[in-house]
């Protein structure tokens, strides 16, 4: 990875940082509102894995923010560059498709981490949190962010217009993240929905991430690691192939 890669990474990070009120502050506020509302409604009624509900909810909200913002970063950057035409600035230089991929995905991970850290800072006052096995926290945040950053690259390249990107977000990303156990343990679901949840890769990202905090989870963190790792590998290969072919970027 050369200087072209690090410059593209720097530019992508600078891009979201310059509009931090939209890209960082707003999602932190949204997560905080979720916490206030859900914990107000459910606190005292529900315990999950022996953990009080608000404490259970916080890692879910953190991870959801990581994932949604990682997706938003690469997808919105790419579609904006395509629509305004300034994508040529990164297509003309000698940047390889591997460098291109790595820069966009890593910038997405950085945005996810910044927002995730913000959500954690804003919410951890509300409940006693533990950090039982912190390595899992890092690993799942990193891999989850990379997966959604990669999906964002795919969506940003595929979409020609902003509403196509919005459709991708509303009909795929949102349902997958909301139906993944952010707000509940899937063990509390009816058997059919438990089964469905086990087919949702986002469930494993959130479950594994949460395991890092409490040391308990719905699935084994090793199972989650292998599911999430496989998804990342497949998506990486798929995205690299699109970029190598110049799909929609080089006519």
């Amino acid at each position: 990875m050369g200087h072209g890669f690090s410059t593209l990474l720097y530019k992508e990070v600078l891009r979201f940082w310059k509009v931090g009120s939209q890209t960082v502050a707003a999602p932190v506020l949204t997560a905080l509102l979720y916490l206030l509302i859900f914990s107000h409604v459910l606190e005292g009624h529900v315990k999950v894995h022996g953990v009080i509900y608000t404490a259970f909810l916080i890692p879910g909200l953190v991870m959801m923010s990581v994932l949604q913002n990682a997706f938003a970063n690469s997808s919105s950057s790419l579609i904006q560059s395509k629509v305004t035409g300034n994508i040529v600035f990164v297509l003309l230089p000698p940047i390889s498709y591997l460098e291109f991929f790595a820069a966009y995905v890593l910038a997405s991970v950085v945005r996810g981490f910044v927002v995730g850290a913000g959500v954690l800072l804003a919410t951890f006052w509300f409940a006693p949190l533990t950090f039982a096995e912190p390595w899992w926290i890092l690993i799942f945040a990193l891999m989850g962010g990379a997966i959604l950053g990669s999906l964002g690259v795919i969506a940003g390249i595929w979409a020609d217009k902003f509403d196509q990107l919005a459709a991708f977000q509303n009909f795929l990303i949102m349902p997958l993240t909301f139906l993944s156990g952010v707000f509940y343990s899937i063990n509390s679901l009816p058997p059919f929905w438990q089964e469905v949840s086990h087919w949702n890769p986002v469930f494993y990202m959130i479950d594994g991430f949460r395991h890092g905090f409490f040391g308990v989870s719905d699935a084994s963190p090793w199972l989650s690691l292998s599911v999430v790792g496989s998804c990342l590998a497949v998506l990486t290969l798929f995205t690299l192939n699109l970029l190598k072919r110049g799909y929609k970027l080089r006519a």
């Binding site: 200087h3 600035f89 003309l92 230089p93």
Partner: protein
């Protein structure tokens, strides 16, 4: 490696539109080359294929001996392209844009060259202005600057003076000429044929994806265009002297090939009893050549 740009049998279709049709073209190092043609002729597509923005269906392209597909890194390092569309990144200032663009080409400390480019394009006072705040002409200058950050030996400008004021045109051509004198190869597309005539040493004309004329500017002017003697007279010139040229508002346009034909012609006209009130000599111009070439290939 003798060519700065080599284009061999390059074809490209967009759906049913044949944008490029077996183009063969070579630009030599140090040339100031003009690429002309009507709207939709394929100029931008050809430039895009050279820059790797478009993939040719057939054929080969290379920049300074580097194939644009197989050896794309080297090819792109040697090429600077000013795109036709006025694009910019609204998140950054002029200087940030140029530093970032330098970084993409692997260049870390480029400040002194960036300052020089800014100075030469009259952008110094705008260096810290956000791109969004610039006028169209200023954005166009930045686009030129971005193409030059990596000191490319081959510089391609796709209609750099569209919608640009006189001052920038002069600054721009002054700067580009200096780069050309310093050894950079320049390829220019423009619809201002006077500009091409003054700047380019060799010209290719494209029509519907084909090269329909390719020669030095001087040869093209000689080949397709003639001098005219324009006269305003009080009396009609006898038809045997006008060779069928029509009169228009008292003016007669008489074509001639060599200057030594002029004196005898004027003498004959005077001898025929015509009093000459006004006289002009029209030089051959590229516009006429262009129109003739395009018409000649109409069917």
């Amino acid at each position: 490696m003798s060519a700065a740009i080599r284009i061999q049998q390059v074809s490209k279709c967009f759906g049913s539109t044949q944008a490029l049709d077996a183009i063969d073209l070579e630009v030599r190092p140090g040339e100031f080359f003009g690429l002309l043609g009507p709207n939709g002729a394929g100029k931008t597509t050809l430039i895009s294929a050279l820059a790797g923005l478009v993939r040719a269906d057939f054929g080969k392209l290379s920049v300074m001996g580097h194939d644009v597909q197989a050896d794309y890194r080297e090819a792109r390092r040697h090429l600077g392209v000013v795109p036709q569309e006025l694009v910019f990144d609204p998140f950054f200032t002029v200087r940030e844009s140029l530093k970032i663009q330098s970084g993409y080409f692997g260049i870390r400390d480029n400040d002194s060259w960036i300052d020089e480019i800014l100075e030469n394009l009259g952008l110094t006072s705008k260096a810290n202005a956000n791109m969004r705040m610039l006028s169209g002409g200023m954005k166009r200058r930045v686009l030129v600057a971005q193409a030059l950050v990596h000191r490319p030996p081959v510089i391609v400008l796709d209609e750099p003076t569209a919608g640009v004021d006189v001052e920038l045109r002069q600054t721009l051509w002054h700067f580009i000429r200096r780069l050309n004198e310093a050894g950079h190869t320049i390829v220019l597309t423009t619809h201002y044929l006077e500009e091409a005539e003054n700047l380019c040493t060799r010209i290719a004309m494209l029509k519907a994806g084909r090269v329909v004329a390719l020669d030095t500017t001087a040869n093209l002017l000689r080949r397709f265009s003639v001098h005219t003697l324009r006269l305003r007279t009080r009396q009609a010139i006898p038809p045997e002297l006008t060779h069928g040229a029509a009169e228009n508002g008292g003016w007669w346009s008489l074509p001639f090939d060599r200057f030594d034909e002029v004196e005898p012609l004027l003498a004959k006209i005077r001898a025929a009893g015509c009093v000459i009130d006004d006289l002009e000599i029209g030089k051959p111009d590229l516009e006429e050549v262009f129109v003739r070439v395009m018409q000649g290939q109409a069917n």
